[in-house]
Symmetry: C2
């Protein structure tokens, strides 16, 4: 039944010293993951954050593009010296790093011939054979080559472009998710929760996440599965446990 589901996965490679130094709080990981999950049925297996160093980017592109069905990169496709993502990906796949005609035309008409300076022209340079990911907010396109999709690091621009990635992705089976918020502590239910997880090991993923709300301690129980039926069965068992332990449910 559930075993033949086509599972499609992805990894995310965040490129940028500003994230590693703690100067900038990343906001793209959660957004891309959530979008892949809910819109494409694609699960993110691994995320890496690496500095703007060519050798390291090349290594990670080669490794992740073998390890997962898709690789999403963010950052390093702007006009400045520290933007080396496109060049590094070209190097990884041993293809030329050159002007993409379509990108060049888009950027030239966006800026106008006079204002289309060297920095801006750089944003039209991509690995040979790359296909564009159009950018409705600031023109400079991302690109897709083989199973790697490169997006910018600025969250608002990335968000405006994400739907244009869809044409390059094969969707997997949708993962359904349910959350029950309980006013209890994890250790009160950890044993029984472990038993339920064991029983549904291959079908449902059960996570338990403590929270604080209005001075009270709670636990969010998150269940995830491609099977709505299995999810329903787990829910039943959870409600039996909640009843047995007389736990208050928090309605949001």
């Amino acid at each position: 039944m559930n075993k033949k589901i086509k599972k499609i996965n992805a990894s995310i490679l965040i490129i940028g010293n500003e994230i590693l130094s703690g100067r900038t709080q990343d906001k793209n990981i959660a957004f891309i993951s959530e979008w892949l999950n809910s819109k494409c049925g694609i699960t993110v297996n691994e995320v890496r954050i690496v500095p703007d160093i060519e050798k390291i980017i090349v290594e990670n592109i080669l490794l992740l593009s073998k390890k997962t069905n898709y690789v999403f990169t963010t950052g390093g496709i702007g006009p400045t010296h520290d933007d080396i993502t496109a060049k590094s990906i070209a190097k990884a796949f041993r293809v030329k790093y050159e002007y993409n005609k379509e990108a060049y035309t888009i950027l030239e008409s966006y800026y106008g011939k006079k204002k289309f300076n060297d920095g801006r022209k750089k944003m039209a340079k991509m690995p040979r054979g790359a296909k564009l990911i159009y950018n409705p907010s600031s023109a400079a396109p991302g690109f897709k080559i083989r199973n790697v999709l490169s997006l910018p690091g600025v969250p608002s621009i990335l968000r405006s472009m994400i739907d244009n990635c869809k044409r390059y992705l094969t969707s997997g089976k949708k993962v359904h998710s349910q959350t029950i918020n309980l006013y209890t502590v994890e250790s009160n239910i950890s044993k029984q929760l472990g038993l339920i997880q064991k029983k549904y090991k291959n079908f449902v993923d059960i996570g338990s996440y403590p929270f604080f709300r209005l001075g009270k301690i709670g636990v969010a129980i998150v269940t995830r599965s491609t099977s709505l039926l299995k999810l329903k069965n787990v829910k039943k068992e959870l409600f039996n446990l909640i009843k047995l332990k007389k736990i208050e449910i928090l309605k949001l």
Copy 2:
């Protein structure tokens, strides 16, 4: 001069399906990185986010503990079935996973003998030989074994514990950082910025990050170095460039 600086680095391993699924926005990476940079002079070289799967945690602990001076893990040290960080680290280092006497005593006295159930007892289980990272907010300690420091995933608890990591770390030379915010676009200065970066390649790191503020576009130029003198020289060159291009500086 600058070449003999003791560079100490770290990696961060974020453990948790909830981060990979996009359900939870990570807040620990930026916090730990910033703390390591500013308080310990330690640079974060790499971050990875991985699921709650023992084999994957073991692999990453082994790899990162060889690759960097310190490894910080977050998540997976609570009482539930999906908390497998301590067990996985024990497996990675081939030591026993057992009750840590001191942690057991701390937790027993915190909860009281009657309420010290199996879930809570689990939080006293650690790799043999682990030293504790005390937790002033919710008692359950983190731990340090070899060059790996394990912290919880809940940001408020992690933040309350971070200073207790310091005794286990050798500090590196402090990295100084300066930011100049300009009302301009990256492509206007990218060429000259690239030349300045080239000149100071081995001493100063120059980053360029676009921002939007009150409807205007700007660029933050961030310079980082262990040498205040070199930083000053770069600043001089930047101000020459700003003057030449007649760029407005944004004072924050």
